[in-house]
Each structure stands twice: as structure tokens, then as C-alpha cells.
């Protein structure tokens, strides 16, 4: 892939690494590339971060033909720059685009584009504990037309944001509200795709949960409102009687890269992992009788986030005395250890950017 480079006139001042928050700052450069039926992928450019021009009839503004990904770059003590399983994001991006009838970006191009941009923006990778460079690849429909149909033109972009913790709680336990009014996904829908519409639809429940004092919602399935699916931007795992249980990826749940990595780690440590529908009633009962030992969310943004409390239909259960559990902590330490190049990468998950 040939990438044109347009230098910026003025580099930005880098933000204080202690007060990054999540997604508030963007680096000096962005990557853009266009697709049309006639030309295929063309016009790959790394250029100064800045506004783009969009026709008001661009289909993305009306019919939300848009998909995205999220991954992170880490800088090791030795100054190496590592990505974590970018091939998984490339695959998921392709699957999201297929579901939305958007052009599919070849997986190597996806990884290449990220590596090229991150390599140029190395200086922006923060290094203090818990920080990283968040990478946001996204694609959207740019055809100007008012009928509903697959767009004949797309733009693929990557922006970078130095970030701290996703939740204000950091790696401390969060309180989760089990949502039984709003639904995130049903089979036959777009739950497994990382597309804008899923997130727009989810905001109402999140606002409601926050008003009630919770950090996030735990979604139930859309058909029976009976089975536990996932948390806002994390997959959810529950340790009941020493077994780890998580929702299966059969169409409604986002197949998380962290989820997959955690399952592999747990199995390698000898744990039993069950990917199966877990009824909210079973979960609450396990909470009551304390066989629910630990619970946590997994996701790129929050890494591993312990769940300290679950509230469902007015009843609250406290998990592990609202403390980070032993397995939760071990997963956090191992994953971040591998991501930061501090531990041996026996699964070959990291990808070095030159």
C-alpha cells in the first residue's frame, strides 16, 4: 500500500499523561483512504488531523452505514511499540462491514495502515501506568443519495488518541445495572457487528443506569429477557463454583478480542470456561448464595474491569465484598503484562510496529 504523507505545519502540544481521560485528545496525524466502485481503494494519505468535508446527503448521516474498531498501542520499557492482536480487529472489521453491506477492507491493509500511522505517531504513546494510545479505525458511506441502498463510495479513516482509564473507577470494581426494558441486540440483527447503530441505541439505557448510580448496564437477550449478554463496551464473565461462564458469540454479542484472549488464558491455567447462555435468575441466585465468586468485564478500553455489584429488578448483589477477585487480578496483570512486553508472549499476541 502506497501512502502519501502531508506534513503538518505545527505539531500539537502533548497533553499531561496524568489527566488524559478517554478519547479527549487526538494526535497530529490521521489516516484516510477512499473507496469507489470504479477505483477500488485509493488515495491513502497520512495528513494533519483535521476536519473532513462531507456532502449533507452523504448516506452515513442518514442511514448510519458506518463501522469502527478499537485497539491500543503500547510502548515497552525498551521503547518497542506493540499492538495487541490487530489481526483480530481486522477480521471483526471485515465481518462488521459484511453485515452492513459495506466494502470490506483487506485485512493486511487494515493492519498495515494502522502500523504506518502508529509508527509515525510513536511520540504520542503515553508511558505511565494504565495509559496507552487508543487506535480508532472507522469506515463510513459517502455516497450522496437519499434512497436506502448500499453506498457506492466509502471512506476509511484512522485517528489516534492517548488515553487513560475508560471508567473513572480505573481498575476498581464497578456497579452494574441489569437492564430489562431496553434491548441491545437480537438474533438476525447487528449485535455481533461493531456498527454505530448498536451504540446509538444503547445510550438511553446507559443514561438511565448512570442516573440510578451505576457505571454501566448488563444487557439481557432481546427475545426472552432471560439470559445475560454483555456490558456496554465489554463482554461479561462470571465465576460460579470455580467455573468461568460467559455468553456465547452466536450473533447478539460482540466477539471481543479481550474475551477471546481471556478464555485462552483461563484454559491454559486449567480453568473450565463455559460459553453458554447464563440465565439472570441463575446469576442472581449464585450471588445470593455466594457461589458467584467473581465477575468482570473484558474489553480493549477497560481491559479487565471487576464487577462489584449487580442490580436487577430492585435487588442488589455484592460480589466478592466489592473487592477485585484473585482471578480477575491475575487476568489483568497477565494481559497488561503481555501488552506492555513485560511478560513472555507465549500466545504470540503482540505485533511489533517498526
Amino acid at each position: 500500500m502506497e501512502v502519501k504523507f502531508i506534513p503538518t505545519e505545527q505539531l500539537k502540544e502533548k497533553p499531561d499523561e496524568n489527566a488524559l481521560g478517554f478519547g479527549n485528545y487526538f494526535t497530529d496525524y490521521m489516516f484516510t483512504m477512499d473507496w469507489t466502485k470504479e477505483k477500488g481503494w485509493h488515495n491513502a494519505v497520512i495528513e494533519p488531523y483535521g476536519s473532513i468535508q462531507l456532502d449533507p446527503a452523504s448516506m452515513v448521516l442518514h442511514y448510519a452505514q458506518e463501522t469502527f474498531e478499537g485497539l491500543k498501542a503500547y510502548k515497552t520499557k525498551e521503547g518497542k511499540v506493540l499492538l495487541f492482536r490487530p489481526d483480530m480487529n481486522a477480521k471483526r472489521f471485515a465481518n462488521s462491514n459484511r453485515r452492513l453491506c459495506m466494502e470490506v477492507l483487506p485485512e493486511e491493509m487494515f493492519v498495515d495502515a494502522i502500523a504506518t500511522l502508529v509508527s509515525r505517531e510513536k511520540e504520542w504513546i503515553p508511558t505511565i501506568e494504565g495509559t496507552s494510545l487508543y487506535i480508532r479505525p472507522f469506515m463510513f458511506a459517502t455516497e450522496s443519495a437519499v434512497g436506502v441502498h448500499p453506498s457506492n463510495a466509502y471512506k476509511f479513516m484512522i485517528v489516534l488518541s492517548p488515553v487513560g482509564a475508560y471508567y473513572p473507577e480505573g481498575v476498581n470494581p464497578v456497579k452494574i445495572y441489569v437492564e430489562d426494558e431496553y434491548v441491545r441486540a437480537t438474533k438476525g440483527g447487528t449485535g455481533f457487528a461493531k456498527c454505530g447503530g448498536n451504540y446509538a441505541a444503547s445510550i438511553a439505557a446507559q443514561v438511565k443506569a448512570e442516573k440510578l448510580g451505576y457505571t454501566q448496564v448488563l444487557w439481557l437477550d432481546g427475545v426472552e429477557r432471560k439470559y445475560v449478554e454483555e456490558v456496554g463496551t465489554m463482554n461479561a464473565m462470571f465465576i460460579i463454583d470455580r467455573k468461568i461462564i460467559t455468553a456465547p458469540c452466536d450473533g447478539t454479542v460482540l466477539p471481543g478480542v479481550t474475551r477471546d484472549s481471556v478464555i485462552q488464558l483461563l484454559k491454559s491455567w486449567g480453568y473450565v470456561v463455559e460459553e453458554r447462555p447464563l440465565a439472570i435468575d441463575e446469576l442472581m441466585e449464585a450471588g445470593r448464595n455466594k457461589t458467584l465468586q467473581e465477575a468482570f468485564g473484558t474489553g480493549t478500553a477497560a481491559v479487565i474491569s471487576p464487577i462489584g455489584e449487580l442490580s436487577y429488578k430492585g435487588e442488589s448483589i455484592i460480589i466478592n465484598d466489592f473487592q477485585t477477585g484473585e482471578i480477575t487480578q491475575r487476568l489483568y496483570d497477565t494481559l497488561t503484562g503481555i501488552q506492555w512486553g513485560k511478560l513472555e508472549d507465549s500466545f504470540h499476541w503482540t505485533y511489533e510496529v517498526n
Copy 2:
């Protein structure tokens, strides 16, 4: 509402009224207005139609916080300009925005903005049979941030497009494919809202139906895949044994302005209208034994669109010998008659633009 006007340097040439298609041409001007927490609604402008500037981290490009409406302006023989029930679109727009936690535009402002823009663009309203000026109001999130939350800034816009028939078939019967794999909406989701995500999710089924030789899909409910909901961009009505049956508006179906108008007309003519779940099995059986007399879709774009054939699980039923039915035709004539100011507007549905 004070609206600034920025004149264009060069008016466009108007397209041939016989070859408009749907949503391919846009008029000389567009309306834009911004909302921020600090300033509320501000900066209302009618300006030359053209590109807008968007930050690549604008939330609309990632999380699809975006809603839209669709209505039409008609020019009567006497040169009057009429809108059709714009207050209904204003209300639905507000409901869509509420569901997506977006700022709600006051209903009078919505209608005012449309009237002001259409009034300026009167010359663009085509007058030959079956044409009109399609009005597309839309709103989207403009905050630049990568976390999922309600945006703190929005842009409201209106663009206008002179249009002909929505379907290539015009007012001739269409063939409809009953979709039993993909799902459009479930209770607790966003089915009743006119938001981009619903349409992005629907494209795959539409592409599939078109490949199989059908014009559109008929959606089934997302829970049991048993009840008939609506068609791509139309509500669906079925006349079985002289009764008109249509899906209830209880969360999954878009409450169509045309649907509501048709129900009122039918009742005023003495017909029984049942808003109730209609099982696909009941519908197919009625098709087989010919008690299914007529079927049609209702929507602003297509007005009344007769359904000539339904295909479900490999079985096809032909409705009314693939001819436009009597009631279907009467509804089309009456509705378009009122919209064009040719018939008495006893329901006070039209709104004159000065």
C-alpha cells in the same frame, strides 16, 4: 426563529421532471442550525447547498447518534404550496430524538424551518404527475469524542430533493419477500424511531430480496418471527374478508404519517381497521384461500404501493391477480388528491406554505 440568508452565486439548472428518480438531485439551498449546551439552538442559516465540515471524531461517524424525517411539498394547479401533516413529522422527530438521547427540536421550529426553506425553493417543486419535492430534515451528533455518551452538540439540517416515484414500478404492484433470517426491530430497541441504525441494519435483507427478484422485504417480529411488521420504508396493510389489518405501533414499527392518514380515511369510509398482530401463517393462508383481497404499503416516498406478490419460505401467493385493488386505488387517489389540493381537505391535513 431568526434565519440568516446567504445567497448562492450561481443557481443550478433544474433537472428534467420526467427523469427525477428518487433523491438524486438537491436544490440550491439548505437549512442548517446548531445546538450546544451553552447556546441552545443557534445559528439558523439558509445557505447554498454544499459540503459541511466535520471533525473525524464527530460522534455521528462512530456511534450513529442521528435521526431523520421525510415529507413532501406539493404545488397545486393554482400555484399554492402544500405540506402534508408536517406536525406529525415534527412529533415523530422529537420521539426519535428522545429515544436516542439527542436534543429535542421544538415542534414549531421544525415546521417553521421547513416552511421557510421550502418557500424559498418553491421553483424547485416539480408539477408533473407523481412528482413532488422531497424534504429531508435530519439531526446528528457533532461532539468530537470517542467515549459512548450523549453528544453535547448537534447539527440540524434540511435538504430538498425533487423526486419522482420511489420504486421503479411506480404505482404498479410490487413483489415482496418475507424475511425470516434478518430482524429489523425488537421491543426495547429503536424500531419506532427514525434513526440511521435501523436502516443500516436493514440493507442486507434488502440486497438479498433484490437478488431473489423482489422489490422489498416484509419484516417479521424479532421475538417469535411470527407476526408481520412492516415493509422496508412503508407500513403494510392487508385486506382480509373486508377488514383492513395492520401491525400495531407498539415499539417495533415506525408510526407512519401515511399509515395514520389511511386508517382515518378507511374508518371514515366505514371500513373496519384492526391494528393487531397478524401472523404470517394467517396471512399466507388468507392468500391461499383468496380471502386476502388486497395488500399495500403506505409511506411518504411511495404513497400507496400495491403488493402483488408475497413470498415466504419458498411459497408465493399472488394477491388480486397482481392488479391494484379497488380500495388501494381509492386510497391512492384520495390521498394524492388531498396532497395536491384537488380534493377537499376535510381532515385539515394540508399546511400551506406562504
